[in-house]
Symmetry: C2
């Protein structure tokens, strides 16, 4: 994972766009649950992701960025989605927050790894900065998770998904 | 999974669009491997998916379709993508074909399930027809898999991913 600056910026922009899109979907889903508090968390996070995307785009102006493949930046699908045949899904607020958290952790680790491996000091600095932003998202989601009722004991016992940041 | 006709059509259109996009990505990746044969398989499959999408769109004309969430139609990410930190990926032709097969099987099962559950005879007939198309894609990919060298014994022994259709 040794990136040039354009490669790194392309990943960061695509990841922010992806996060913005997914947060909007989650917000709509919380609307269906009539959970206004969690809905507005997700709308805020969507807006933050868009702002971050725009600021990275501004920085990338005049640089030709490579085209990425979808799986290089996409969020994971929610773990409970489907067996093979089912695509229908309605996430509980708790699951939605946990799902978002999993993806933020993944992004954070990605940026940390880039910061560690990068030779270019610009990339090193930017990646460390972005990792810190993702860490703040994880912490914000943790606060919301603490306030949100767990839908089942089984789920609450799923310790793995709460690894500390 | 009891759909109205608009819901069903929205899924089918989104799934075909998704397949078309992913097949183009896979084709580009095969270009990087300089594997022209498998590249053109994927370009053909992308075109077929687009044609199928357009024919479903034509059928849906004048019907207002619901907006779907990404995970209701998305392809799975390739199983080998990432640990937590890595988004970089270069699929071998064999892996790419197997990945596509997994997603086609998933779509086929989805349509079969809809065909089984549907009350509406239009949905029942369309879903059965679409399931049959997906089955043909799986069989086509199987033929290509049979011609494509396996990158490792471990992978070749992965029987699960070759469940018969």
């Amino acid at each position: 994972m040794s990136y040039t600056l354009p490669e790194f910026l392309a990943h960061a922009i695509a990841m922010e766009q992806e996060a913005a899109d997914r947060y909007l979907e989650l917000a709509d889903m919380m609307e269906a649950h009539r959970n206004d508090a969690v809905q507005s968390v997700f709308r805020d996070m969507s807006r933050f992701s868009e702002m971050h995307r725009d600021s990275i785009r501004a920085r990338a102006e005049g640089i030709e960025l490579p085209k990425l493949r979808s799986w290089q930046y996409r969020w994971r699908t929610p773990p409970e989605v489907g067996g093979e045949e089912g695509f229908d899904y309605l996430l509980e607020p708790f699951h939605a927050l946990k799902y978002a958290r999993g993806n933020e952790v993944r992004s954070m680790k990605y940026y940390r790894e880039v910061a560690k491996e990068a030779q270019d000091p610009d990339i090193k600095r930017l990646a460390a900065e972005f990792a810190e932003e993702e860490r703040e998202h994880v912490l914000a989601l943790d606060e919301w998770l603490a306030k949100t009722p767990r839908p089942s004991t089984t789920f609450a016992e799923d310790a793995e998904s709460f690894e500390p940041v």
